[in-house]
């Protein structure tokens, strides 16, 4: 079910009405059945896949709890991980893997051909697989206890606000909230509705309007484009994907608030980051925290932090930029890239971030980038350009298309030519400007209005009226969220 649909609103009203009036047991069954209905409205047949994943992880974790034998525990862990990742690999990466193997066979002159199948990617598989895997590893490592109540564990995996595109939750943060009857708090209700409305505004008014402009930009033959054009299109896509995905997170967090549940934040003004390291503490925080805890830190021989906050902004590399640490960084980011999609262009995106971070580490070691305001400003400015340019492979048709587009940046015969319509540049500038000043305006406004509560409330309602009206005017059901494809 799409959040930006009427069906969902009807569903939500019925669900919330039931949620607050039922006792614990029935409430848990309501969450379970509603989450299945939520997913089933897209494809009923893929429900069996989620339930299979739930069963594997539920029984594996119970086994870890009961068995002390290290070897048996390891075998079950291996089985559980292979099952989870195997399902993900089959549904998401089968075509990519077979295509590449066939390519290699072709090069070496072999006539073996792995057949291609048109496999439908089940929505949210990357998200619920990661969530299940983290639970199983945490129970195996005895970081958390296995949940014995099947319905409660199932709800952790299939809880509808986060089922399709996150945030990626950790068991220790969420299971107790699902289990305890949360106390009804009117502030949370109010805050939740505001988050949902704001999320819808970002999606239907901003991201959906940027989408066709970005599409037109990426359709232009790269030979016509100047460096200015490349920056413009990468900024536009950078904002499209940010508003689209953060909109989904706002709505998911708002929905959880309506149920009295706290979700971790997934975004925190990422384009205000003063370094690539900081960017990954502000962008898709729950994914980067997951990668930190289950990929990066284990490879670096550090202890899992076991929480979904903080992202991947650790300073453990200080004084130890070794070949080994660079390779681990590269592997981590390649995995991060391939998680987003079965395509080399996503690997290119991941590698570009690995390179950016490596260079940052080198520079940060040489000069303290936050030493003074001027250096901090320069550091923010260059980080923003690099992060935006790194979006190119994410949106390009292929990795070769991405390299062609990047290549235009160093084409010194056409740095300033304009290949798009005037409005494209205007919109890119306008949206960047509004986004960059927004947090400062909000902080200043809050400070200014501290004592004028009445005026603050009146203006808040005028803004909400404007936002709701815009949502009503531009509400379009057909548009999916970008992160559904991951």
């Amino acid at each position: 079910m799409l959040f930006n649909s009427f069906t969902f609103f009807v569903f939500l009203i019925i669900f919330i009405s039931g949620y607050w009036f039922l006792n614990r047991k029935i409430r848990l069954y309501l969450i379970f059945s509603s989450s299945l209905a939520f997913y089933g409205f897209w494809r009923v047949e893929f429900l069996s896949l989620i339930l299979l994943s739930v069963l594997i992880n539920y029984f594996s974790s119970l086994f870890f709890e009961k068995t002390q034998s290290k070897s048996k525990r390891k075998i079950v862990l291996l089985f559980s991980l292979l099952s989870n990742l195997g399902l993900l690999a089959f549904f998401k990466y089968y075509y990519f893997i077979s295509e590449n193997i066939n390519f290699i066979f072709n090069i070496i002159g072999s006539e073996i051909n792995i057949p291609y199948y048109n496999i439908i990617l089940p929505l949210g598989i990357s998200f619920y697989t990661f969530q299940s895997v983290s639970y199983t590893i945490d129970v195996f490592n005895k970081n958390i206890k296995a949940e014995k109540e099947f319905i409660l564990f199932s709800n952790y995996v299939i809880f509808f606000p986060q089922l399709i595109a996150g945030p990626i939750l950790r068991a220790k943060e969420i299971i107790w909230q699902l289990s305890e009857r949360p106390k009804f708090k009117i502030e949370k209700m109010y805050g939740g509705i505001k988050r949902i409305v704001f999320g819808l505004f970002l999606k239907v008014v901003i991201a959906d309007h940027l989408a066709p402009i970005v599409e037109q930009c990426f359709l232009v033959d790269s030979k016509y484009l100047s460096a200015i054009d490349i920056f413009t299109m990468s900024y536009l896509f950078g904002f499209q994907i940010y508003f689209d995905f953060s909109a989904y997170s706002h709505i998911a967090i708002g929905l959880a608030m309506l149920m009295g549940i706290n979700f971790p934040e997934n975004f925190n003004f990422p384009y205000h980051s003063k370094s690539p390291k900081e960017f990954w503490t502000r962008w898709h925080i729950t994914l980067s925290s997951w990668v930190r805890d289950y990929v990066y830190l284990p490879m670096m021989n550090y202890k899992n932090l076991n929480n979904s906050e903080g992202g991947i902004g650790l300073s453990i590399y200080k004084n130890s930029i070794s070949f080994n640490s660079i390779i681990i960084l590269l592997i981590t980011w390649m995995l991060m890239g391939i998680w987003h999609g079965a395509h080399w262009k996503f690997v290119a995106w991941g590698v570009s971030h690995a390179l950016i971070i490596t260079f940052y580490r080198l520079f940060d070691g040489m000069i303290n980038l936050s030493r003074n305001r001027l250096i901090a400003f320069a550091s923010w400015f260059f980080t923003l350009q690099l992060v935006m340019l790194s979006w190119i492979p994410f949106r390009a048709e292929s990795s070769s298309h991405a390299f062609r587009l990047w290549g235009r940046l160093i084409n010194n015969d056409n740095w300033f030519g304009l290949g798009f319509k005037e409005n494209t540049y205007l919109i890119a500038f306008f949206i960047t400007f509004i986004y960059l000043i927004y947090p400062y305006v909000v902080i200043a406004w809050d400070g200014y209005m501290k004592k004028n509560v009445l005026i603050k409330n009146i203006i808040e309602f005028i803004c909400l009226f404007f936002i709701v009206t815009m949502v009503l005017i531009f509400f379009k059901v057909i548009n999916q969220f970008i992160y559904f494809q991951f």
């Binding site: 009427f6 009807v10 009117i186 509705i193 016509y224 290949g419 709701v468």
Partner: protein, 345 residues
């Protein structure tokens, strides 16, 4: 007031906001059927749909196009002609909706008596890429003898094909709709029936886009005489489409007439002279290459026959119009096209 008390008051207000919003939209936009294109031109420019024997001969959408085709199909015309262009062909400055005759209407009437059918497709800011889509669609339905294409420099800045021009593919019955799609279409149908959901929203969208367009022009002081930028990639894409059309029509022995559309010439034109000359030269060369007929009609409508349109920036009521002219201008264009066609028939 404590935060809890404050929220107790604010929550019901927040829940009522969508209803207030819809009430507001309903009051302002119910029954407002003006589309964005028409809003931009204002009341000064009349958009005409011409008829012969109660059948439309001038249309601007695929839905209308099928009705126009009926005009050609129901009478056994000796020859069939298609004329395609932008809003210049269906819009008249300071015209009268009931009595105004456009150039294409005059040509259709003239040739009707000679048992030759002529229909026109006109849409605002139509690109050559869209010409290609329309021609492909129409050729499957009717065998045309002559196709007339209007060439406007402005339109080479338009990229892509608008959604309404994309021909709906026949629905594949094997593809099952999801539960979401089924429920969603039922809810929207219900809302459309009871609260005019889509009508009110599209009217509001039109007003917002117009406001943004006017604000941009106000802030950057853009007016009709401001020079339009030549956009090389879009220009090349359009020229490529035009070339494909000419190549295909030549292969199928369909005569093609290209004409440079009339342009207001009593004030500075809104293009760079060099770029505009390049456009004319380039299209003429293409015409020669594919043996089509090329005419430059840019100066046939004198300055005094051009009128005004609604202002395109905040605070300006009317301004000069470079694209559309008065009815007498249509008479001149119609006469020229009739003369050109007579030579070919």
């Amino acid at each position: 007031m404590s935060l809890k008390k404050e929220i107790k008051f604010k929550l019901p207000v927040l829940l009522l906001i969508p209803f207030f919003s819809w009430f507001f939209l309903h009051i302002f936009f119910v029954g407002d059927n003006q589309k964005f294109d028409q809003l931009a031109l204002g009341e000064e420019v009349v958009k005409v749909t011409n008829y012969i024997n109660n059948k439309p001969i001038l249309c601007g959408s695929f839905a209308q196009l099928d009705k126009c085709l009926r005009y050609l199909k129901e009478k056994n015309f000796n020859k069939k002609i298609l004329w395609i262009g932008n809003s210049q062909l269906n819009s008249v400055n300071q015209g009268n909706l009931d009595t105004t005759k456009t150039a294409s209407h005059r040509a259709s009437e003239y040739f009707y008596d000679k048992n030759i059918g002529l229909i026109t497709f006109a849409a605002p800011n139509i690109s050559f890429q869209e010409y290609s889509v329309i021609i492909d669609y129409l050729k499957k339905k009717i065998d045309f003898d002559i196709i007339i294409l209007s060439l406007v420099f402005d339109d080479t800045r338009e990229d892509g094909v608008r959604k309404s021009f994309l021909i709906k593919k026949e629905k594949n019955k094997n593809i099952q709709k999801t539960l979401q799609e089924i429920s969603e279409s039922k809810i929207i149908l219900y809302l459309d029936k009871h609260i005019k959901w889509n009508d009110i929203r599209s009217a509001a969208q039109g007003k917002i886009y117009t406001f943004l367009y006017q604000s941009r022009n106000f802030v950057f002081n853009i007016n009709p005489t401001s020079t339009r930028k030549f956009i090389k990639p879009i220009f090349d894409k359009n020229i490529l489409s035009l070339e494909k059309i000419l190549k295909k029509l030549k292969k199928e022995n369909i005569k093609t007439i290209l004409y440079v559309a009339p342009l207001r010439n009593d004030i500075k034109i809104p293009y760079s002279e060099i770029e505009y000359s390049y456009f004319k030269r380039h299209t003429k060369n293409l015409s020669t290459k594919y043996s089509s007929y090329f005419y430059n009609l840019e100066n046939i409508v004198p300055g005094f026959l051009w009128g005004e349109k609604a202002g395109t920036k905040i605070g300006v009521d009317t301004e000069v119009d470079f694209m559309h002219f008065k009815e007498q201008g249509h008479a001149i264009l119609g006469k020229n096209i009739i003369t050109i066609l007579n030579k070919l028939l």
